[in-house]
Symmetry: C2
Subunit: 311 residues, 2 copies
């Protein structure tokens, strides 16, 4: 039985707990905030129920999954016997460094230490640790219980076997690991998202399209195709000779565009007023949580569909 | 009853025919190739059956939809009484210019002339036409019968009412129009795809990830979320204060990345060998059509799901 310690049991930590427990692991959660720790189990139960309703617990019942999750009174207790530690504390370098010092000191010598950070490179908070070879980033798209992709990112001193062991654990619990060769700002997914957003802000800034057009073009255009075949798979399908023929045919068009996609736009300039105006006209700020909940429930249904229709 | 002329009845033209007919229009198809014209109706029938099976004919039967589609013997006959002409001839400027000269001469003065081109700006083949004010691009993601998004792109001399009339027609037949203020290389969707691909090629070229990681990061990570909420909607949901707070929090991270995303990579360099190798190891070239057919049938099922789960 694989034992998991979840350190930081807010929204991300709780979702990780469900994901690991669904995969058959024994999970112990810890949070320095008593209020967050107290809320964690009921949040876990709510998520597990929702996932069960969408048939996303891989045939297990919500009760069975929840029975594998407990809340520890101390960090020491949570880490006791852990094979894998998943850290989800705030994205603040000083906090991370302090917490990681403790994790390395208290966790069993054989445990892998993984961070859910999206914003900090693993080298920034593991360099000084004596166990830095066992430290890695495992960054999910939230919530990991719903979205499979997880970026596994080594620091320069991370043992390659730690990357591999983490990737295999992710596969075992139903996530899809993205193996990165080395750390880089934004990892993979935020770099791809950033490149796309950069062009989206530019097109609105230049008055070529309104903000809604961008959402339509992705939501009702590119994303459905990408949800069944990734970007390289997609262009590989788009020419009879595969990706090589696609590149031969279309590289010229994309290189012409690239000449005008070099300089970043100031996202917080006038373009932000235009985007915010369109968003608030569509969803007033007070309605945002409700609209987000509707989006999340559609996303849950979509993931149920996609899980049931794997290639 | 709106009358549509489809000029060029290959794969794209046939898919357009199903889309317009499903929306209640009377469709007349024409192709200069007798072989293509002869194959068009059976291709239309096959598509209509597949769409009916996935409940994508908006409650109409395949027979009813097909009964609204005929093949004309001459261009003149196809254009007779047309309200909207949808052109799908090869992406060759000389061919386009020749065909558009004919369309402008032969189509009723009140007809809108729309091109499915993805690669040519509308100004390139409409400038010399006396009816150039009624010319526009209506570029679908293939096949339009399945994917809703359609880019509506004016030339500098296109009458804004022609853009609006085309967008409304698209809405009426169940497409989602993207209204562009002016023409630009790659329009909206290929510009967004290009920006994302550029970064994908760069990350593989630099040895940060393998090609498969890119496909996982989009297919199992970003795309499912984007298929229910577009990129601006998504970041608007990702901070309690909406898009403005998101930009305040994360612009710094994205601007740091942008500094390293300026120079285009040579897609046909060594990086292409690596991508092609991975793709061909996954799907040998001879298997590509079969893999694509599987992808398309999953995409059809996904579109049925998404159409039935609109916000």
């Amino acid at each position: 039985m694989t034992r998991i310690a979840i350190v930081g049991s807010g929204l991300i930590g709780s979702a990780w707990a469900v994901s690991f427990a669904r995969g058959g692991c024994e999970v112990s959660m810890f949070d320095t905030s008593r209020a967050v720790a107290a809320a964690a189990l009921s949040h876990v139960a709510r998520m597990a129920d929702q996932m069960a309703g969408a048939d996303l617990l891989f045939g297990e019942s919500a009760d069975t999954v929840c029975s594998r999750i407990n809340v520890a009174a101390t960090l020491d207790e949570a880490l006791s016997g852990a094979d894998h530690v998943q850290e989800n504390v705030p994205e603040d370098l000083e906090i991370k460094q302090a917490v990681w010092g403790e994790l390395d000191r208290l966790a069993p010598a054989t445990a892998v230490l993984a961070s859910s950070t999206s914003a900090l490179l693993p080298s920034k908070f593991t360099e000084a640790l004596s166990g830095r070879h066992r430290c890695v980033v495992a960054h999910p798209i939230n919530p990991p219980s719903l979205i499979p992709a997880v970026e596994v990112v080594p620091a320069p001193w991370t043992d390659p076997q730690v990357v591999e062991r983490t990737a295999l654990l992710m596969e075992r619990i139903g996530q899809t690991p993205i193996r990165m060769e080395r750390e880089i700002d934004g990892f993979l997914m935020n770099r791809l998202q950033g490149a796309l957003l950069q062009e989206a802000f530019r097109l609105v800034d230049q008055g070529i399209v309104g903000p809604e057009a961008v959402d339509i073009g992705i939501r009702d255009g590119l994303a459905p195709r990408w949800a069944v075949s990734g970007p390289f798979e997609t262009i590989d399908f788009n020419a009879p000779g595969g990706v090589r023929e696609y590149v031969n045919r279309y590289q010229g068009m994309f290189m012409t565009m690239a000449q005008h996609q070099k300089d970043p736009v100031d996202w917080s300039g006038p373009v932000l007023n235009r985007i915010e105006q369109q968003r608030r006209a569509t969803v007033p700020l007070a309605e945002l949580p409700r609209a987000q909940a509707r989006r999340d429930s559609r996303l849950t249904a979509l993931m149920q569909f996609l899980r049931g229709n794997r290639a």
